[in-house]
Amino acid sequence: MDQHNSSPLTHSSENRSTISESPAVTVKHVSITLGERQILHDISLAIPKGKITTLIGPNGCGKSTLLRTMIGHIWAHGRDNISIFDKSLNRYKADDLAKVMAFLPQSPDIPKDMTVEELVYCGRYPYQRWWQNTAEEDRTVVDRVLDITKTNHLRDQLIPSLSGGERQRVWIAMALAQEPKLLVLDEPTTYLDINHQLEIMELLKRLNEEEGLTVLMVLHDLTQALQYSDYMAVLQDGRLITSGYPQDVMTEDLLQDVFRVHGSVDVSDKKGYVKITGLL
């Protein structure tokens, strides 16, 4: 049990050797220009399989854009240089991609008139064919993901009636109903209070450890990024500054150079934390 609760930091260190093998997502020399502005400059990055990876960086650094580019929502020059599970993004059919990868946007539209169960069933969409009856399998999966995300008691509630934390768990349940190997989230904790933030982070950690789910997300909170990720990539002004293990990446120099704040980073403790002391 103790082993199980071991911090993600040590967890990653133990598996250091496996990280470079067969990444979940690979990006090679990708650039993006929107209008006059170049948003991403020649980015190359590999997201390790079976790990939790976070993208961090100041506002407007291009981390959300990079996230959307990696999953094919934004068309990039060199798109054929992006691959997911060793297959080029170009060679995926839309529904096949949805079976290996699920995406949770930062603030999804809230369906006015849908119950939790109906929404989670939408996650089965990539598997449904009008000539096939998938009802039984769909039901099994939906029941399972409602249990995993502890939303079973909410299944008959309408989405708008849920609290922020509940809603986020339900969206994750819908994403899990796609039975993905890779879950991609854009700032999943932004609009939540601290308790529900940690609840979501713990859920993601549990999914990663118990189900072997690869998690890739953008996070704002540096301490959370440090505590929960196995791997980290830092962006600034559309450029990849550094990537690697959190305890190597998260340094006082990084806080100054990238985030323009004074602070200290403590990784001696199992969890690790970032303490910000003031503006630069």
């Binding site: 995406f103 949770l104 999804p108 008139d113 849908m114 119950t115 939408c122 990539p126």
Partner: protein
């Protein structure tokens, strides 16, 4: 679990009730008119092979086909509106407001006035006009995504632009406008079996395609990013469903002219009753649209008899205030 199945039962019962209402409205509309016909006579007429008297003639050759045309037109416009609202992410979308009807109208008038020998082409050409107008509105409103207010503004502009084209044609070819004018006014007077034959295939194909796309529309209503993440080809869905909406609108417009507000009001009433699941919303809209148009047409025939009020006027009379109500509510 239980409650969800209750939701299904509830939604299904709404559809059944709508079926009953539609049937009832069609019977009522057979009975009432400048001459009243008894239910017994109607029954005999429907099931006999010969049209024995004047009453039977009225039922079989005038009221019944007109009824069917009204129901089909109502169903087409309502479903077209429901689809456009989903595709354009806009609660105020409607074939007339976003210019689809004007597109169909302009092309129809061009055929009727400039190529009078090719009447049979009207529905097909009207479809092209409707599709062209929809794409034009979409292209004009597209700027880093779709914003509801821009759709309406672009729609009004396109509608006015195409409408001026129609007016110009009517002015320049004043000697030939008779047929076109009758068609333009929008109404169901003198619609009979030939119109049923033209409209029926369009309506059936359009409604079937719409229902096949219902699931995709529901996924689309979750928002573009979520829909993409679920493996829906968002742009292709938009395009193909717009085509279906244009087909339905064109079918209706080429038979009944420009009838507004059906496509706006009906899906909205139904959303309040049955919710946003397109698997129920689309068939429900078809039934309610058919019902409302049959009733409105009957009122138009009977209210100021012997003068007939075109059904387009009745729809605008009730629909316009409802549109304003929606505009205020959705801000």
């Amino acid at each position: 679990m239980k409650q969800v199945s209750n939701r299904k039962v509830y939604r299904f019962s709404v559809l059944i009730i709508l079926c009953a209402l539609l049937l009832g409205s069609m019977i009522i509309s057979l009975v009432f008119g400048s001459t009243s016909v008894s239910l017994v006579d109607i029954w005999h007429t429907l099931w006999s092979d010969e049209l024995t008297d004047a009453g039977a003639q009225i039922i079989w050759n005038i009221r019944l086909p007109r009824n069917i045309v009204a129901a089909l037109v109502g169903a087409c416009l309502a479903v077209s509106g429901a689809i456009l609202q989903a595709v354009m992410k806009n609660p105020l979308a409607d074939p007339q407001i976003v210019g689809v009807s004007s597109g169909a109208g302009l092309m129809g008038v061009i055929i009727l006035i400039l190529f009078p020998g090719y009447d049979y082409l009207v529905p097909m050409v009207a479809f092209l006009g409707a599709m062209g107008a929809a794409l034009m509105v979409y292209a004009l409103a597209w700027k880093n995504g779709i914003r509801p207010s821009r759709i309406i503004l672009a729609g009004v502009a396109v509608s006015a632009f195409l409408g001026s084209g129609i007016s110009a044609l009517l002015v320049f070819f004043g000697d030939r406008v008779q047929g076109a004018l009758l068609w333009m006014v929008g109404g169901l007077a003198a619609r009979s079996w030939p119109q049923v034959e033209v409209l029926f295939p369009y309506a059936m194909v359009g409604l079937a395609l719409a229902c096949l796309g219902a699931k995709r529309l529901t996924i689309l209503s979750l928002g573009d990013e979520t829909a993409k993440g679920l493996g829906l080809n968002v742009e292709q869905t938009r395009f193909s469903m717009t085509a279906v909406a244009a087909l339905l609108a064109a079918g209706a417009v080429s038979i009944a002219g420009l009838i507004g507000f059906v496509g706006l009001v009906i899906p909205h009433i139904l959303r309040l009753i049955i919710g946003n699941d397109y698997a129920y919303l689309l068939p429900g809209s078809a039934l309610l649209g058919a019902f409302v148009l049959v009733i409105s047409d009957t009122v138009g025939r009977v209210a100021m008899s012997p003068i007939e009020i075109p059904v387009g006027i009745i729809m605008a009379f009730f629909g316009a205030p409802f549109f304003l109500y929606l505009l205020r509510r959705d801000g």
